[in-house]
Amino acid sequence: MKRLRFEYETKLEFSQCVTGHSFTLRCTPFSDGRQTISEPVCEISPKLGEVWRSRDSFGNILICGRMDEPHKDFSFKVSGEAQIVNSCGGSGAAAAFYGFQTPLTFPGEKILSFYERNKPSAADVLSRAEELSASLYEHMTYIRGVTGTETTAEQAMEMHSGVCQDYAHILLSLLRIEGIRCRYVSGLAFEFGETHAWVEVHDGVRWTGIDPTHNRLIGDRYIKLCHGRDYADCPIERGIYIGNAGSIQTVSSRITEI
């Protein structure tokens, strides 16, 4: 068991003023069987317009808001304490939709043939998932900048490279070929200054996290922020605004052991 103090911040700088800005943030971690979150605080700047909370169908906490007045930057910072037990995620049933492919995970020829070549041999769900994760880890090269948030699992497989999001999407695709219910997770991990993505697998009883980018089960150094069937279900931040402005985003996170 670990007690961690976390701090996570995203800053957006627009190239010119924007108005009519609506946003939804899934940046607030919540407690499950693995992590217990105390006193999470989310600060949003600038302080314009209304901010309120909501939930989504995946169980995530949403922070919603609207800023109508012109502003040139936008940031949110979430901090708090987490108590992590080094075991699986929450127990309980998994919604059936987690067993089905989405547009981002839908397998094409590349994934199907990879699956044929790397069919797992173990009997239980978690071991099969670990085998697939291991084959994937062997096959892929971690390269930044070759993929984007809209890259599908099949496209990443074709390039056999990508970042944590792509690793996660391909593993989800492979698991769903097997009919295993699984979900995409966004969160913070100890070693990284940014956000990380991994996969949770449901074995019929409980969820267990696997990090295909590092080919290991997630341990007590991971804090989950949100989950969904794929990235598109649960972006940490989604916003729309009026104004012909580009934006530069900087993300930082810090986890320290207490």
């Binding site: 609506s22 946003f23 939804t24 209304e50 309120w52 909501s54 939930r55 989504d56 169908s57 995946f58 949403l62 919603c64 609207r66 919604a95 059936a96 939709f97 067993g99 089905f100 492919q101 969904g228 069937r229 279900d233 989604r238 729309i240």
Partner: protein, 441 residues
């Protein structure tokens, strides 16, 4: 039915009036927007009181079952667990929206306005062709046409006992009021250049709901408001939205949607606003799910279906697939992901090569298609250059679910303007007729 004794409205007068009243639909051709008149044929379709009473029973039953199905699959999914419907048909459907799971809409109603398409076979049997539970359009046309026919040809209504269909607006209004969560009713339109803009504005006029575009609405603390030009805000209790699910809320669905209302899904989830029809309904009018509707009626209501489905095959099942491949030339193939008469092909129109291409496609993508026997539905008399010709026609019945489920005693009869064509959609050049439901003797 004896058409000879049916006094017919003055078609020229009615078409002139329709033009004058701006009864149009928009269509995009080669990238430009045009408005077209919807050609009106003056010979009405006549449905006897007896026929209608059976149809009414069947439609109420069907829509009730479909509403129960939607409630079920967005919560416990009992019908799947009980093995009535394979889960793959639900969760792979484009219309199934995971972000709607576990949301119960106000009063538990998902499909408030259902447009059920039927055809009548040569032997008089009515068959269900498809269910439209998302944004079924078209009720405004027979509604205004009736008004104009009564003006141009009062005699026709004097000599026949015809159910007055001009109550549609009040049915619609009471449906909105029934699910309203406190606040005003609005009709959300994507704007002037939508195909059905006439209908949006006509319903707003007739129901007293305010016609709005997305920029008139905003959400704060999970409550939907309309802003007026003075900067004030008025709470909205029900939205009859005429934009499709994927564009409804850029924060939940397509982020690039410019016609949606950010956070409207949060207001809906919190139970603060009714969305008419509920998002996620597409899973129930999916052409693949259609096959299972008679089973749903038995499962949820314990009743025998009153109205028949057209005989349908799912290539997903091996037995059905074999039948489809063997009998392709006499079947009609429908792509489950397309609507509005698109993605419908007839085996009899295919060349040998096309047939084998289609056999391959159906084998490879068995979940994507359904196949149906072609129902030789009855032709209706249509006036063309001062003589009557026979044309294929269907009927869209409108069923409104508010305090109770009611069938509008009328409907939209669309006919093909080409001989022997089964495609009746307005977007593909079809015309429409008034639909008379006769009162009981």
């Amino acid at each position: 039915m004896n058409y000879m004794n049916t006094p017919v409205a003055d078609a020229k007068a009615v078409n002139e009036l329709l033009a004058r009243y701006g009864v149009k639909f928009g269509i995009y051709k080669n990238g430009t927007f045009n408005e077209q008149l919807f050609p009106f044929d003056a010979i009405p379709r006549i449905i006897s009181a007896e026929d209608f009473s059976a149809m009414e029973k069947g439609l109420v039953q069907r829509v009730d079952a479909l509403n129960l199905f939607l409630k079920d699959i967005y919560s416990d999914g009992k019908i799947i667990k009980d093995g009535i419907i394979p889960e793959v048909f639900v969760y792979i459907s484009k219309g199934y929206l995971a972000p709607c799971a576990e949301i119960t809409p106000p009063k538990g109603i998902y499909s408030h306005i259902s447009g059920i398409d039927l055809v009548q076979a040569q032997d008089g049997t009515w068959y269900i062709l498809e269910d439209n539970l998302r944004i079924p359009s078209g009720a405004s046309y027979p509604l205004i046409a009736r008004e104009l026919c009564r003006m141009a040809s009062p005699g026709a209504f004097e000599n026949n006992r015809i159910a007055d269909n001009r109550n549609y607006a009040s049915l619609l209004r009471s449906t909105m009021d029934h699910v309203n969560c406190g606040g005003i009713n609005v009709i959300l339109t994507p704007g002037r250049y939508n195909a059905a803009y006439f209908e949006h504005s006509y319903f707003a006029e007739k129901t007293g709901a305010i016609l709005v575009q997305n920029s008139d609405l905003f959400v704060e603390n999970n409550i939907l408001y309309m802003k007026d030009y003075q900067g004030g805000k008025t709470r909205v209790g029900a939205v009859y939205r005429r934009i499709s699910d994927e564009y409804l809320d850029p924060m939940t669905f397509l982020p690039e949607s410019l016609i949606g209302v950010p956070h409207i899904m949060d207001a809906y989830r919190a139970g603060n606003v009714a969305i008419i029809n509920a998002p996620g309904n597409g899973v129930a009018d999916d052409k693949g799910i259609y096959y299972f509707v008679p089973k749903m009626i038995k499962y949820y209501l314990g009743e025998e279906p009153v109205l028949k489905n057209a005989p349908t095959y799912l290539p997903f099942y091996e037995e059905d697939r074999k039948y489809v491949l063997d009998n392709l030339e006499k079947l009609v193939i429908k792509d489950v992901s397309e609507a509005g008469g698109y993605g419908v092909v007839f085996g009899r129109d295919m060349t040998k090569e096309q047939l084998s291409d289609w056999r391959r496609l159906i084998t490879e993508q068995s979940r994507r298609f359904i196949a149906q026997e072609i129902i030789d539905f009855i032709d209706l008399d249509v006036m063309e250059n001062d003589r009557t010709v026979l044309r294929k026609a269907d009927l869209r019945a409108f069923v409104l679910s508010g305090e109770k489920t009611q069938v509008w005693a009328s409907g939209l009869t669309r006919f093909s303007r080409k001989a022997n064509s089964f495609v009746v959609n307005s977007s593909q050049g079809g015309g429409f007729k008034d639909t008379w439901v006769l009162l009981p003797e």
